[in-house]
């Protein structure tokens, strides 16, 4: 297991009012993303527990592009990764933002 942590300053707060959401599953080649609206509006944190060692640079690139594209301000992401491919990671993060942007609790 490897633990990674990324913190970004972002330009805008994520939309919606929902407080937390979960997408994906913990399985080989897949990942689970828990997203919580728990940070100041200009911050974003991504915590990763991954089964695959030595992919820090790829994670950094994936998270960097994601933050740039979706501006997920105020959100903390906790990822349980089962060795998912980078494209699957991007997709799950985008799905998490879409889900928490919905109206609700």
């Amino acid at each position: 297991m490897e633990d990674l942590n990324f913190q970004h300053q972002v330009r805008a707060r994520a939309g919606g009012t929902r407080q937390r959401a979960i997408v994906g599953v913990v399985a080989s080649g897949n990942l689970e993303v828990l997203v919580e609206r728990s940070l100041p509006d200009a911050e974003c944190v991504v915590d990763i527990k991954t089964a695959a060692m030595g992919f820090g640079a790829v994670w950094s690139a994936v998270i960097g592009d994601f933050v740039e594209r979706y501006s997920p301000g105020g959100l903390k992401f906790s990822i349980n990764d089962g060795g998912a491919r980078p494209d699957t990671v991007s997709l799950r993060l985008a799905q998490a933002v879409r889900l928490i942007a919905e109206a609700g609790q």
Partner: protein, 548 residues
């Protein structure tokens, strides 16, 4: 006096030597090894029918058991090296030299045996190439083939999996060779005559039906969102703008996803009737929903697929069938059709380099070429025009004279940037080059050469290589869809964004596709059971796919 019929006399002598073991043409299964010892001569070129799917397995075992003092050092000329027995022949010394096209399940062992010097390799071919050589310099002395049934005269019914048989028999029987067929049963009258009796010299009833591998079945349950996204990009980014109607799909989950998106995503885009209507393709179960929805007009097949027989029989408007109603496949004709009459090939691969060359060879596996290089190559002898072909030609050479400009076949490589176990699809140098150096081959085993590739599709977007004007643009177009692989992360961001402005690279959003819409609910069938339902119960999947 010079004799001009030595080969015919030698053939007649071989047949006479075997005749003592036969009643008419029929030889009992327990006498087959003795028959082969009588008919086959050391050093002969032998075609042991190993197709992509159908295997003359009884004859393989019988050949393996020959007395080495009578038969040895054979030169095997067969398209598929698929069964363990095919390689046991070399371990035992029955055979010495090999010319082949495809080695699928034996790819790791064949590599070890080539390194170990157990096999003297002629060359690895494409199917059409090896078939061509059957008629020029690799004509078999003996062909050991497989059929469904025979009558007592030796007329053969090869059934849905006719595959290579007519080609092998044509080359052997008409050039003084001996043809021996294993059949599942001997009947009074065959359902249809696929091979006439005067081309068949001995028939053997096998104790069990010949082995057929279900190679072309992909379980929709295993299709990922990433594959659905790349399939959406393919349909909207390539099939639609070129109006591709005549095509071949490789095997793999990305093309299975395309087949399953035609009746849903394709229908919504209003593309029915304008794309994907005429195929050179095996009977892929994943195409059933598109056929049932009226997308597909006609399919010609290289071989058949396990479980599809009743469905094909009931859909003869779509498939090629014989007087008995069952499928007639023919690999040589279908390869020719794919080469000359299709405007697009789309398939996956294992490695793509910075020039767009692709290979399925890794340093420990030599899978051979099969048919992809013929499907995935511009046919330089093509002369008939079609819209997709002309449009692709114009994109490659916009300033050329319209009347003198060749068209281009669309050769599309589709895949996710990372494959199984996070292995990157894009590499700086193909493993095939290292392999060629190790084995001292004259040529690296390249599946599709970069100068034939027109488009590369990944989840990151579509790269249109026809629009690249320099080697540098081409490299950056490839890096620009290579995602988070090392190749992708080393892109020149400025150049990639300029290529995107020119439409050389198109991202999902450039095509109006939201990656979040790439959902399994878009698949017309999400399981094998759904395919059975679409077929009205006519598709009978083999047990390994019955997971419900």
């Amino acid at each position: 006096m010079t004799s001009w019929q030595n080969n015919r006399a030698a053939r007649d002598a071989r047949i006479a030597a075997g005749a003592g073991l036969a009643r008419g043409k029929v030889v009992e299964a327990h006498d087959v090894t003795r028959l082969l010892e009588a008919v086959v001569r050391s050093g002969d070129r032998v075609c042991l029918e190993g197709d992509n799917q159908k295997q003359a397995d009884l004859l393989s075992r019988a050949l393996l058991a020959v007395d080495l003092s009578k038969v040895n050092d054979l030169h095997m000329v067969q398209s598929g090296v698929v069964l363990p027995e095919h390689l046991d022949l070399f371990d035992r010394g029955v055979a010495k030299r090999l010319d082949y096209a495809y080695s699928g399940p034996q790819s790791a062992r064949i590599a070890r045996m080539l390194f170990g010097g157990k096999i003297e390799l002629g060359a690895v071919h494409t199917y059409l190439e090896l078939f061509a050589r059957y008629f020029i310099d690799l004509t078999p002395h003996v062909a050991l083939i497989a059929a469904v049934s025979a009558d007592r005269e030796g007329n053969l019914y090869t059934g849905p999996n006719t595959e290579d048989t007519p080609t092998v028999v044509e080359a052997t029987a008409f050039k003084d060779g001996v043809v021996i067929a294993q059949v599942n049963e001997i009947v009074d009258t065959v359902p249809r005559v696929d091979i006439p009796a005067d081309r068949v010299h001995f028939i053997v009833k096998a104790d069990k039906p010949f082995f057929v591998e279900p190679l072309f079945t992909r379980d929709p349950a295993a299709i990922t969102e990433g594959q659905i996204l790349t399939a959406m990009l393919a349909i909207k980014g390539v099939y639609a703008p070129y109006g591709v109607q005549r095509l071949n799909h490789g095997i793999g989950f990305s093309t299975a996803a395309i087949e399953l998106l035609l009746p849903t995503f394709g229908e919504r885009l209003g593309l029915k009737g304008t794309i994907a209507s005429h195929f050179a393709l095996n009977p892929h179960p994943a195409l059933i929903p598109a056929i049932e929805s009226g997308w597909v007009r006609q399919i010609h097949s290289f071989g058949s697929e396990v479980g599809m027989d009743d469905y094909i029989r009931a859909r003869s408007d779509v498939y090629f069938t014989g007087s008995d109603g069952s499928l007639r496949s023919n690999r040589a004709f279908c390869q020719t059709a794919g080469l000359y009459a299709c405007d697009m090939f789309i398939g996956s691969t294992l490695q793509i380099d910075l020039q767009g060359n692709s290979s399925t060879v890794t340093t420990s596996r030599i899978a051979g070429f099969g048919g992809a290089p013929n499907m995935g190559a511009d046919a330089r002898g093509r002369r008939h025009p079609s819209e997709p072909w002309l449009k692709a030609g114009a994109e490659a050479d916009p300033d050329g004279s319209a009347l003198m400009r060749r068209g281009r076949k669309l050769v599309v490589q589709i895949g996710e940037t990372f494959g199984d176990k996070n292995v990157p699809l894009f590499v700086e140098k193909l493993d095939a080059i290292e392999l060629a150096e190790k084995l001292k081959l004259d040529l690296a085993p390249v599946m599709i050469y970069g100068d034939d590739v027109t488009h590369i599709i990944t989840e990151e977007g579509v790269a249109n290589l026809l629009l690249c004007r320099t080697a540098q643009e081409r490299e950056q177009a490839i890096r620009g869809v290579a995602g988070y692989t090392d190749v992708g992360r080393r892109r020149d961001h400025g150049m990639v964004s300029r290529l995107r402005e020119r439409g050389v690279i198109r991202r999902p959003e450039d095509l109006g596709i939201n990656p979040l819409d790439a959902d399994r609910s878009l698949l017309a069938a999400r399981s094998i059971k759904d395919l059975v339902r679409w077929s009205g119960g006519l598709y009978a999947p083999p047990s390994k796919f019955r997971n419900w």
